[in-house]
């Protein structure tokens, strides 16, 4: 789109020309994911997870639509309708397990997609909007996943709804009325279940809409790449089709194999046994935990245990929301002109520290709220905020990046395996001496 050498769409048939003159949809597709979209030639496998996210969104929407043909959103019947799907509906067990595990795999690929963006500086100019729209998608996914988890109306569904809507009651004065309004009652019940089902059906289509904006805004500057260096000439790029369709295609096969292995041989490994117990408003499970993709946030929520000026509960809720919202400011917090973490020795170390930190937060999120897990989660949560709000701005100010390659194709010439290694080391001796 934005590159002069992008091949324009040329209809191959008379019919194609006829359609193109009236409604250039084939042209749009060709320019978006066809031969008309030039992509940096040096993308590594980290870049496969965008297309994979799209695949999992599709899987979720398709399996979700057919599940909705058998599910009924009734506080008395929801649990049994799920079991009806599992036992009596043709291939129902497969569709339900595909949807439940599909949600987990959607989050896995999206997390890898986000971390790839973090490492290679894909959030930096001119791709700030791509990043922010991606965060909007992520927030919508979290809302959709939460409401979807409520639908089976098991114990974890019910108490998850109770706890998460309880976040709002942390806010003074308006909090409790908002919670009651969200639930349509004083506790989760029929009203809440029906509206969650309605919104759970709606939001994926909103996500699909934002995905289109996400891709649109990506196609203006084009994809980032492991060197972070801008595309300069035609030599730096390859048309999306057939090169990246082939690469995405085989990798999707590999990833779907992993998904199928979990779906068919450990379908409940990522779920919680308590959700096979029907919802009981009178008894809370001994140990409430959200789904794994929320564990780090749950740990941040619980890490605030002291009423310091504000009540601890409010601190927890505000911090949990802040932990995501601060990512919207990332393009302006990290001011380093170098995009790729491969050329930023200090940033790179902190990045991997952050990965470890998030893993620790996740671990603390699933453990019971007792020592030493609380203490560990407090240190880890403090690092999380410090990383983005204090360390990154300072690093970007004081770090001395490695010399960048002159262009993408030069770095490729240097050897496929070392595409992310600084090119021009042979020229770097004089550069370092300067």
């Amino acid at each position: 789109m934005s590159f002069a050498w992008a091949k324009p769409y040329q209809p191959k048939t008379e019919l194609g020309r006829w359609v193109d003159d009236r409604m250039p949809l084939p042209r749009l597709v060709y320019n978006a994911v066809g031969g008309g979209y030039p992509v940096p030639r040096n993308l590594n496998y980290g870049w496969n997870f965008g297309v994979l996210s799209g695949i999992f969104l599709t899987i979720q929407i398709v399996t979700g639509i057919v599940l909705a043909m058998h599910y009924y959103a009734s506080a008395d019947g929801a649990f049994n309708s799920i079991e009806h799907i599992m036992r009596d509906v043709n291939a129902g067990w497969m569709l339900r397990y595909a949807h439940a595990n599909g949600a987990s795999f959607f989050f896995i690929v999206v997390y890898i997609h986000i971390f790839r963006g973090l490492y290679y500086g894909s959030y930096k100019a001119p791709r700030e909007l791509v990043w922010m729209l991606g965060l909007v998608i992520y927030l919508l996914m979290m809302a959709t996943a939460f409401m979807g988890y409520v639908l089976p109306w098991g114990q974890m569904s019910y108490w998850g709804a109770q706890v998460i809507t309880g976040f709002f009651s942390a806010f003074p004065v308006v909090g409790e009325p908002i919670r009651v309004w969200l639930l349509g009652g004083y506790a989760p019940d029929q009203a809440a279940l029906t509206r969650f089902f309605s919104l759970h059906y709606l939001l994926p289509f909103v996500i699909a809409g934002v995905v289109i904006l996400h891709i649109w805004s990506l196609h203006i500057p084009g994809s980032n790449n492991p060197t972070g260096v801008d595309v300069k000439t035609e030599k730096d790029t390859l048309p999306f089709h057939p090169f990246y369709t082939a690469k995405d295609g085989w990798f999707a096969g590999a990833f779907l194999t992993l998904y199928a292995a979990v779906l068919f041989f450990a379908p409940n490994a990522l779920g919680h046994p308590d959700n096979y117990i029907p919802a009981n408003p009178l008894a809370t499970p001994a140990h409430i935990v959200p789904e794994w993709y929320f564990w780090p946030f749950y740990a941040i929520l619980r890490a605030f245990t002291v009423d310091f000026i504000l009540p601890a509960k409010l601190w927890g809720v505000v911090a949990m929301f802040a932990s995501i919202l601060l990512l919207f400011f990332l393009p302006w917090l990290d001011r380093s002109p170098v995009r790729s973490g491969a050329y930023r020795p200090v940033f790179k170390r902190f990045f991997w520290l952050l990965m470890v930190d998030i893993a620790i937060l996740g671990f603390c999120g699933v453990m019971p709220a007792e020592q030493p897990y609380v203490a560990i989660s407090q240190i880890a949560a403090a690092y999380y905020f410090a990383h983005f709000l204090i360390i990154l701005p300072l690093v970007s100010k004081f770090e001395r990046p490695l010399p960048l390659p002159n262009s993408i194709s030069e770095s490729v010439l240097h050897g496929e395996k070392e595409e992310s290694a600084p090119y021009g080391l042979d020229k770097s001796a004089p550069a370092a001496a300067q």
Partner: protein
Amino acid sequence: MVRIIAFFVGLGFAGVLLISLVVNLVAYVQSPTEPTAEHEFHREPKELHLASDGPLGKFDRQQLQRGYQVYKEVCAACHSMNLVSFRDLAALGYNEAEVKAEAASREVPGINPDTGEVTTRKALPTDRFPSPYANETAARAANNNALPPDLSLMTKAREGGAAYVYSLLTGYQNQPAKLLKEFPAAKTPQGLHYNPYFANLNIAMAPPLSDGQVTYADGTQATRDQMAKDVSAFLVWTAEPKLENRHRYGMAVLIFLIIATILGYFSYRNIWAEAKRQVAPKGPLDPENKAKRNHAKGEAGIVG
């Protein structure tokens, strides 16, 4: 500006967390958490190997039939199983007549077609297994206020699954003297039974199985251990009746996907061979490039 605000926000969150940390640690040092009897004496489930385990597992139908017998003659006195229908028993290897007879041997609530009065009738294959109690209140009233849970999904609704059920059924014992010595307050209350596999160690259900309690049609010795195994296997089936389909389909899907992935990979390699020829007439293995790279590495002080 953003960075200055961010700096103070970050300092704020990190500061409050560190204050929380210090306050907690002080509290912990002053009064460390007391160990509890649950913490010290609760045990993980014993090992249990069933035919349905593993990616190729299939049900042992003979065992499921024995398990069904144990459920019917022992468990069903108190526990409902309201997600399973008599028609489902066909999957255990019973023929149509046997399923009908099995259903007809149980009574379910019905309505007299002439008077409309509530009555009972013989169950049909399409009926769910009848509940032993009319409702939850009746169940609690008959069991000292402890509700016997529905068993349909039991092996999916407990950590440990079938092994947990098996361990629980065979885990009844006297309270260890050590426990009573260390935690005198944790003595099993009247009406409860000590079982180290149960979350809080004291379970309301009396030991349900004893040797020879049922007489198996296939002549298997009905030891307590055997019955516990059989009924656990049966409960795996009631919780996941489509397990065999799942394993069979899973294998087919995996094999298909692996072949598709391999084909896709070679296709990808073929297509990209073209791209590499275009850009890198002399590839990374070209002696000239290699020499250059080694030289560069040497100068940059990278070893290897």
